[in-house]
Symmetry: C2
Subunit: 95 residues, 2 copies
Amino acid sequence: MILITYDVSTTDSEGRRRLSRVAKTCVDYGQRVQNSVFECILDATQFRRLKYELEEIIDKDQDSLRFYNLGDNYKKKIEHIGAKSTYDMESPLIL
Amino acid sequence: MILITYDVSTTDSEGRRRLSRVAKTCVDYGQRVQNSVFECILDATQFRRLKYELEEIIDKDQDSLRFYNLGDNYKKKIEHIGAKSTYDMESPLIL
């Protein structure tokens, strides 16, 4: 599982547009677990494509993306406290 | 390394106060790498204490915390694209 976190500067309308495009792109690849955090089950090709798409969207001087490779046994590495997102982590991904 | 991500509802001033307190608490335990993302080198006791402190701050109906255990070999599991935070990941933690 690849965890994706991002910071997009939203001080202007261009930034807000980038933020919306980043989120929309990530939704296509995985599950939103927090506002700027996605968990994605990806093979190497899908991961490369997602990175490429996100790199095309962000402003590298202002925004940042981080990717964490949690491996296959990711479930036992995650702890959640508080409000649950309504997304179902077990639902199949259509890519 | 424990990765901490959080969503705190900031629709009211109480929420903004919680957000600020969560961030302030995390700063004591690790490195801020994005706005709501911290990387912390913690032993089991420190991790328990941090979780306890954060649980005391958040509103569990509105806010959420996620903890990801990246293990010891975390450096090769992380990829960063874009703007760099100014925090030095190698600096010692004083706990």
